[in-house]
């Protein structure tokens, strides 16, 4: 039961994260492989 709950939380968390991440307006430093301005 605990295992199923943990997996459900992980999957749910991944869905929420992905939705938030993909609906965010890309900033100038796009963070997707361009290397155009990340902080050290």
């Amino acid at each position: 039961m605990g295992e199923v709950l943990l997996v459900s939380l992980l999957v749910g968390g991944a869905v929420v994260y992905l939705v938030l991440r993909l609906t965010r307006q890309p900033a100038s430093g796009c963070g997707r492989g361009c290397g155009c301005g990340k902080k050290r």
């Binding site: 997996v7 992980l10 999957v11 991944a14 991440r21 997707r32 492989g33 361009c34 290397g35 990340k38």
Partner: protein
């Protein structure tokens, strides 16, 4: 003379301002080293390269004072004068003229000058001095000037400009501590040695008198708008339609122009003639020619790489070499990473009891995320090679060679930098189009830039090439796999040329504007910059693997595991089934449909999805490398060389990136263009994939 009230800085009169509010703007011509200085001052590491137009937006960072506290440093896009009319140039002039409500006027301008090109750089510097904002002159690339046989008398130049001059070589880290001291001295006592405005104007001239009067009037009416009115008499700001701060000042500007007209003075030519006349005299006085360091090898290389025939041969030879290296040099480290990932999967399998958590971690996370980590060596090699070419200034020579072709397809020279940036990622590429003044040229470039193969496509190409293309040699020394990879990149370039050709003759008609690009000095690469670029890229790639790709792996594992007994009966199987009618003509199955749908989040997710789906389907309990799983299917007849090639071509043209669509919408200001881009790219990808499949099957 002091028409704009130079004796007081914008900070003065605002006693509540702390050091934290102090803003230093770095301004100068393109490719003079502003961002290198900015990075050195702020500890950030924004992209620098040996060609103009890398910075297209205002960037700010903090500089920590030795006395404690922080000030803000603002890096501006390069400009040749205050009258530029492209978006990036306007961003810079808006900040310098205080035209933005959200951005205070800078308290100090650091006018960065390329010492090896003093005369042209001083044009902007004198305009900056005319603004009446305290200005320090950073005489950058002093080493390059010396190598070319110029010796600059810094003290004399400082006297002529009435501003502090700091010689430095930001690239080598020389002179930066002196620049920091000067900035800190300005923070302590703002307004000192701020630079002399309008020195270029002849004593006793009508123009000078008008400038003085306008400066005084403006300073009284609107302290934020400094020196703008005086500059408006000439042509400097006309193209940007800058308005004087108050109607009274505007009327005075018009009156001054009318008065000058009556006196037979053409304000536009008067300004250009006298400004350059004064600059010429200053340059003659401060520059001494010494013997230039002979650079016969660099000169010969420069001649060869820009030669119409030899240059083209060298260009293709270099590109072939890079793509060969990607396969050959990366093979060993890729094997090690693959083994390490398999070992992690096996270890997890041993440690965890059989169940859903074990399946999620082994088939979802390890197989999914691990499948993209394998490509780190290839990404590192590609960007190390491109970084070296960029640092030497070679890529600008390549642009020079390509200019003729680009004009034929309706793109202008300025489109080269956005296209080049798109090889890393389409997002900075699309943003780099801000330097294109013509709207139709800019939109055409935005629409075709994503056709350049970005770094996210590399894992897709190399995975499919490793699985489907035999590891054989052509002409006895060229790897066939490397050649196929090169051809994928070339397909993207030719596709962009074809699309641009059509767009510029249909919905985006217009002659491409003439463009003169400044050729950067040809030099030995700075390997520190190259290494930092590579490390940055790997870090960003790892960041993506640990976030978006990880999340996608977890979700895909769930979709491919529930409901039903087999993957085919799962949610993922159902989604893939919906795509199947479209994929069958390409010889592809439903698993690829799942991967294509999932990869809209990020192209690398294509690899992750296949790894997860195939590992769940696999009878093996261990994490099997994806290339091996694909080869199994090739042997079983579920895949063919033709369908593999079709899939690669699909990824060359498909718009599988949400972020690119979002940036296109932001930069064009309309969903119409973003939607158009998505539809035409997807349609083109499908048609080209179909064509490839038919051709490859018939061959």
């Amino acid at each position: 003379m002091d028409p704009a009230g130079c004796s007081s800085s914008p900070s003065q009169g605002r006693p509540d301002r702390s050091a934290t509010d102090f803003r230093v703007a770095l301004a100068g011509n393109p490719n003079c080293g502003k961002t290198t200085i900015f990075n050195a001052l702020t500890g950030l590491h924004y992209k620098v390269a040996n060609y103009p137009g890398v910075t297209v937006e205002r960037k700010s960072g903090s500089y920590t004072l030795t006395s404690g506290g922080e000030i803000t440093i603002v890096d501006l896009p390069g400009i040749y004068s205050l009258s530029g009319n492209s978006i990036d140039e306007k961003i810079a002039t808006d900040v310098l003229l205080g035209a933005l409500a959200t951005e205070p006027l800078p308290d100090l301008i650091v006018a960065v000058i390329d010492s090896s090109n003093l005369e042209r750089n001083l044009y902007l510097t004198t305009q900056l001095l005319d603004l009446g904002i305290p200005t320090v002159v950073a005489l950058n690339m002093i080493d390059v000037a010396q190598d070319r046989g110029f010796s600059i008398k810094g003290e004399l130049l400082a006297r002529e400009l009435g501003a502090l001059v700091v010689p430095l070589s930001a690239d080598r880290g020389q002179g930066l501590s002196e620049l920091k001291q000067v900035i800190e001295a300005h923070v302590r006592s703002p307004g000192r040695g701020c630079g002399a405005a309008f020195r270029w104007l002849p004593e006793g001239s009508e123009y000078r008198r008008s400038a003085q009067e306008l400066g005084a009037l403006e300073a009284a009416a609107a302290p934020r708008s400094r020196g703008v009115a005086a500059l408006l008499i000439g042509a400097a700001l006309l193209s940007n339609s800058y308005q004087p701060a108050t109607p009274g000042v505007a009327a005075a500007v018009t009156a001054a122009r009318t008065e000058l007209d009556r006196s037979g003075i053409d304000a536009v030519s008067f300004e250009a003639t006298h400004r350059y006349g004064w600059i010429n005299a200053v340059v003659r006085a401060v520059v001494t020619r010494t013997a230039a360091k002979p650079q016969p090898i660099l000169n010969t290389i420069d001649y060869l790489v820009t030669h119409r025939v030899w240059g083209t041969v060298i260009f293709f030879a270099i590109m072939t070499l890079i793509f060969q290296a990607i396969f050959q040099w990366a093979a060993l480290p890729m094997d090690y990473i693959e083994q390490a990932i398999a070992a992690v999967g096996t270890w997890l399998q041993r440690m965890l009891p059989d169940g859903v958590l074990e399946s999620l971690l082994v088939d979802g996370v390890v197989a999914g995320v691990g499948s993209v980590l394998v490509f780190i060596p290839q990404i590192a090699i590609l960007f190390a090679c491109l970084g070296i070419l960029e640092e030497t200034g070679y890529l600008c020579r390549a642009a020079f060679l390509m200019d003729r072709v680009m004009r034929k397809v309706g793109l202008q020279g300025r489109s080269f930098i956005p296209m080049l940036s798109s090889f890393a990622c389409a997002i900075p590429g699309i943003m780099a189009t801000r330097s294109i003044p013509s709207l139709s040229d800019r939109i055409a470039t935005i629409l075709v830039a994503p056709l350049m193969s970005c770094s996210a496509r590399l894992p897709v190409y190399t995975l499919l090439i490793a699985a489907f293309i035999p590891d054989s040699q052509v002409f006895g020394f060229l790897s066939l796999q490397g050649l196929v990879l090169l051809s994928m990149y070339l397909l993207g370039i030719f596709g962009a040329a074809g699309v641009s050709f059509v767009l510029k003759r249909t919905i985006l008609r217009g002659e491409p504007a003439l463009f003169v690009m400044e050729m950067p000095p040809f030099r030995f690469p700075n390997f520190r910059v190259v290494l930092r670029d590579v490390v940055d890229r790997i870090r960003v790639f790892l960041g993506s693997a640990g976030t978006v790709i990880l999340a996608c792996s977890v979700i895909l594992w769930f979709l491919a595991s529930y409901p039903g007994e087999s993957v085919r009966e799962s949610f993922a199987g159902m989604l893939g089934g919906l795509m199947e009618p479209l994929l069958r003509p390409l010889g592809l199955g439903w698993e690829v449909g799942v991967a294509i749908l999932a990869s809209f989040a990020a192209r690398e997710v294509f690899v992750t999805s296949l790894a997860t789906v195939y590992n769940l389907e696999s009878s093996s309990e261990l994490t099997v490398p994806l290339s091996a799983l694909l080869q199994e299917r090739l042997q079983a007849g579920q895949f063919s060389l033709a369908s593999g090639l079709a899939l690669m071509v699909f990824y060359v043209y498909a718009c599988q990136c949400m972020s690119t669509v979002a940036v296109c919408r932001r930069e064009t200001g309309s969903w119409r263009w973003a939607g158009f881009m998505f539809i035409y790219m997807t349609g083109l990808a499908y048609v080209m994939a179909l064509l490839t499949y038919w051709l490859a099957q018939g061959w």
